[in-house]
Amino acid sequence: MKIAVCVKQVPDTADIKWTENNTIQREGLESIINPFDMYALETALKLKDREQNVNITTLTMGPPQAEEIIRKAISLGIDDGFVVTDKKFAGADTAATGRTLAAAIKEKIKEVDLILCGQFATDGDTAQTGPAISVNLNYPVITYVKEILSVENNIATVKKEVEDGTEILKVKLPAVLCMLKCDYEPRRPLIKGFKNAQKAEIKFYGLNDIGLEVEQVGIKGSPTYVSKAFRPEQKQGGEIFVPDNADDAVNKILEALNG
């Protein structure tokens, strides 16, 4: 079974500082693999642990530095990976990103059974790239996936979390699955993994390698664009009470509940 895992490099939320112009202070900012993508990677690795002949490729679209997160994924046990990178990809919205990643998968991985993505990216939070990839490849998609229960005879059985409970769904492969936070935690790399990551050859593919035209990618290929970005008024903490006893505290809370 061939699995592709799409990952995104995002700034560490705990670390974000803002400039006066409402842009993110990139200097010294730690970049991490999007937390939801870590669950997608772990889910793929779990399948590899329990099934024979599973091969996993991870890919990301981003600047050349995104190579770092591909190496990180390899250190966890992913077989190989590549970066889809080109200045012409800049400014892509989810439609253009989905089209670009789908083209890269089609051209560079070819036969794929399962594509895993994180449900959300913690920076953009759109949850649209996974479904966009699926439409471009003409594969079915299931979002909000909590767990892959089994993969048998080209059919995956998955748990999907919805507002009122859990759905068990069967999907014919190939398919795109978008992973939520799972009930298991992503593994940590072993020494062997670090060594593999160091010596892995990471490929870089640009526009010419993936069979798309310049009008289909980046800002030109994006039907949406940001007209304005602003920071909302930051909430100021209210008063902090240090009550004399629990009754005082209770009264304060009741006041707040009724007010």
């Binding site: 939320t13 705990a14 974000i16 803002w18 409402n22 937390p35 939801f36 989810t94 439609a95 989905g98 913690t122 920076d123 953009g124 939070d125 949850a127 649209q128 996974g130 479904p131 966009a132 439409v135 079915p140 998609v141 979002t143 059985t157 979390e161 919805v162 507002e163 009122d164 409970g165 859990t166 759905e167 068990i168 769904l169 069967k170 999907v171 398919a175 939520l180 936070k181 039907p223 664009y225 007209s227 970005a229 602003f230 920071r231 909302p232 909430k235 903490g237 209210g238 008063e239 902090i240 009470f241 240090v242 009550p243 629990a246 505290a249 209770v250 304060k252 809370i253 009741l254 509940l257």
Partner: protein
Amino acid sequence: MAKGILIYAQTDRNGILQNVVLELAKTAQDLSQKLDNCEINAILFTDGTNLEENKNILSKNGFNKVYIANSLKLKQYSTEYYSKITVDLIKNITPEIFLIGATTQGRELAPVVATTLNTGLTADCTKLDINEKGQLASTRPTFGGNLMATILCKNYPQMATVRPKVLKKAENEIIKNTEFIELDFDLSTIEKHVELVEFIENKQLADVRIDEAEIIVAGGKGMKNQQGFELLQELAQVLGGSVGASRGAVDMKLADSSIQVGQTGKTVVPKIYIACGISGAIQHTVGMSGSDKIIAINKDKNAPIFKVADVGIVGDVFEILPKLINKLKG
């Protein structure tokens, strides 16, 4: 030429129209004031259950036309069926705007429809407006609410998913002589790859769903053990609210991950959020700082949760909560 606003009239498992549809209807009314001759229409999928009631509600919420896809095969939501029928309708009636609730269903359906139509989609918006050029201006939070972005779309229909409970529904009925149009479609031509095997209702959520709760009582590591969470459950029950949890509490197996609030969990916007024994790391606060009123109880007076709390109480949850529950039961 693209004209009018189309709304996805989502129903739940029992055929009940979702509140977000009425919120979208009111917003569409406001938007239509700034557009010429703008009709407000809906697409409704049904197997017939509750159909008359839904038609009645839609006609009191200002819809000009409701396109109805009626088939027993549409009882269960299917992205493959629903997206195909929606795409065909949009190609036929060419709306300039298509709005969908940002529910788990809407956030799967919308990007599939948008990608198929090669148009733009803005996710999980909290505000919609029409700009001076007559374009849909969709505003949404990014970076967990730290940055707001207003996004425009070059193609038609201009699409947006809209976060439930943020926009208000109409206070008064807007009665229209709504035209109901049965859609013609052929499901046999659609290859279906996804099948529902089973639905398991989450009993913990059954009373008050966390995404719909007006009051959320949430606990963190400071709730220490199962008994701590039972206290929260009791308080939530007295208040008619729902229980939430921080990631720390979920990791300690004190709560199910389906009620986790924050970065890798849910974003909630209740009227009142009571944070008990939650330190308030940014990964948690991005999921709840939009609540109308935040009350925090924590032993540590330096806990970062107090920076977002409207009312902060420095104290022991195990002393305070039982007394609070008693008093409320009073």
